[in-house]
């Protein structure tokens, strides 16, 4: 059986950051990603990121991705692309459908001393009449088409959802030359940052809060040609007589994400439901280790947030995995973690981050209550 010291699932910001830290410390690291290209969602993010200017803020996601990839390569990280982790098995075995060696995929089992699951998140769906009509897609799909493949998915779009994904992808669709007819938001408030909403508004695009989509109506060619929306009451049910019809050939859905925790479930990692993080998330400690020893989680898998927080959580997991292997002394690892947690706390401040800061603390507390604080095997001599 193949062996690696650290296997990381996912080459997004969390997985790459984890791989860099672990490899720099001296660990032998394999990153597995099912996509043809590494970077997760980073290479789709053509906008400039918020955050501290000391840590990538003001840089576009795509450039952060390039920088991370470069660092990972320099640190000697091994990367299997086009390869899917199909399961984690007792005894720290990672089942991989390896597509990195050529067109033919092969099942490989790799034994890993430490496993970091940074598998990201998946988009939530909304069901409405005509939701399977061609032209209805997740905002993430539309973003991949325009920013990665340079293909316009339509000419005139209605965006469902006004969180940051809805606002940013609407802006990027306009940059790609697609008209955005409107944003439709069921909640009474715009979900995302005001500055993102302001970009949409000064481009003349209305944001209909307290509205929902009723139907995507197909035209003669079977693809979306009209979108019917309506106001919703306080019960979120459509109000009779408020329907309006919008001409559009594209419906993009940005109604939140949920953590991809399937692999953690397979390992019986303890999960808890947390609405602030998009659904079931693994209990973990300050080392990002789950309730199962030597299994770590980082990034959206550990609770949906932003690329900036995913990067920092990935660093925590990478340092801690290297620490478990004995490459970093416990005291040193603890010092590095303190610095990173301080940065995470700063990123989780303010009206948008506060709830996540509180909930993250709850998850850490619950971990300590249920699992206790495990001591890494290698102690400072």
């Amino acid at each position: 059986m193949e062996k690696r010291e650290v296997v990381i699932v996912g080459a997004g910001p969390a997985g790459l950051a984890a791989s860099i830290e672990a490899a720099k410390a001296g660990a032998q690291v394999l990153v597995v990603d099912l996509n043809m290209k590494p970077g997760g969602q980073l290479f789709k993010q053509i906008h400039k990121f918020f955050g501290s200017s000391a840590h990538h803020a003001g840089m576009r996601g795509i450039d952060i991705g390039t920088e991370l990839l470069d660092e990972a390569q320099k640190a000697g990280v091994e990367l299997w692309l086009n390869s899917t982790v199909i399961g984690l098995f007792p005894g720290n075995k990672v089942g991989i459908e390896d597509g990195s060696k050529g067109p033919e995929k092969k099942l490989v089992t790799v034994h890993a001393d430490e496993i970091i699951v940074a598998a990201g998140a998946s988009e939530n769906v909304v069901r409405f009449k005509g939701w399977t009509t061609p032209g209805v897609m997740g905002a993430g799909a539309a973003q991949t088409m325009i920013n990665v493949h340079h293909v316009k998915p339509g000419t005139r779009a209605v965006m469902i959802g006004s969180g940051n994904v809805g606002l940013i992808v609407s802006y990027q669709m306009m940059q790609a030359g697609i008209d955005v007819a409107a944003l439709v938001e069921a909640a009474p408030k715009i979900g995302g940052y005001a500055v993102h909403a302001a970009k949409i508004r000064r481009a003349g695009i209305p944001i209909y809060t307290g509205h929902t989509i009723i139907e995507a109506v197909p035209g003669s060619d079977g693809t979306v040609s009209k979108v019917i929306t309506a106001q919703v009451g306080s019960d979120f049910k459509p109000v009779e007589g408020t329907q309006q019809t919008i001409d559009a050939d594209l419906v993009t859905i940005a109604t939140g994400l949920k953590p991809s925790t399937e692999l953690l479930r397979l390992m019986n990692c303890e999960l808890v439901f947390d609405g602030a993080f998009g659904g079931y998330v693994p209990l973990h400690n300050r080392r990002m280790e789950t309730s199962v020893k030597n299994i770590f989680a980082a990034g959206d898998t550990a609770g949906v947030e932003e690329a900036s927080t995913a990067l920092e959580e990935g660093r925590l997991a990478g340092i801690s995995a290297a620490e478990s292997l004995g490459y970093i002394l416990r005291g040193d690892a603890e010092k590095e973690r303190d610095v990173i947690w301080a940065r995470l706390d700063a990123l989780r401040m303010g009206p948008f981050g506060e709830r996540r800061m509180i909930e993250k603390k709850k998850i850490l507390d619950e971990f300590n209550g249920k699992v206790g604080t495990p001591v890494p095997e290698f102690q400072e001599v």
Partner: protein, 165 residues
């Protein structure tokens, strides 16, 4: 109406929430107008300013504060703000006209000298304006800054131009 319902602020609402430049400062020439009203963790504008005129400090969720006497209206912060929320307003461009500079990340870019349709914060047409300058050096990282000349009196409202198709 609150910003989280409409997605924009009018100038009076903005001035109620944030420090905007004083009338005295506006009369001295170009100055930054920072339209960032939510405490989000972000501080690139602070380090962008070579005159140390923008202060955020710790924590980085603090709103940026402008020292209007240090600000020269150079515009370095405009392209650095990830939220595209900083504008430069020059209310004394000529006796009868003002200029507004704003970030513009669409193609095609208008041409210098072109007449454009200036719009307010909700995209509504205000007046025709003339593009007096477009700066787009590599250091702006694909966020060109356009300066349009508009009649004096609308410079608190104009914040962009209609996209050309």
């Amino acid at each position: 109406m609150a910003i989280h319902e409409t997605g924009y602020l009018d100038y009076t609402e903005l001035a109620g929430l944030r420090h905007v430049p004083s009338e005295k400062r506006y009369m001295q020439g170009p100055v930054s107008v920072i339209e960032c009203v939510q405490c989000i963790p972000c501080n690139p504008c602070e380090s962008a300013c070579s005159k140390n005129a923008i202060h955020i400090g710790e924590p980085i969720t603090n709103l940026p504060e402008l020292d209007e006497d240090k600000c020269t209206g150079c515009g370095l912060c405009v392209s650095r703000c990830p939220g595209l929320a900083i504008f430069i307003v020059n209310k004394v461009f000529t006796k009868t006209t003002a200029t507004v500079s704003f970030p513009y990340e669409y193609v095609p870019l208008p041409k210098e000298g072109a007449t454009v349709r200036a719009v307010d914060r909700k995209g509504a047409y205000i007046c025709d304006g003339k593009v007096v300058k477009i700066i787009n050096p590599e250091s702006f990282d694909h966020t060109p800054v356009i300066t349009v000349e508009v009649p004096a009196g609308v410079s608190d409202e104009v914040r962009s131009v209609e996209r050309s198709k």
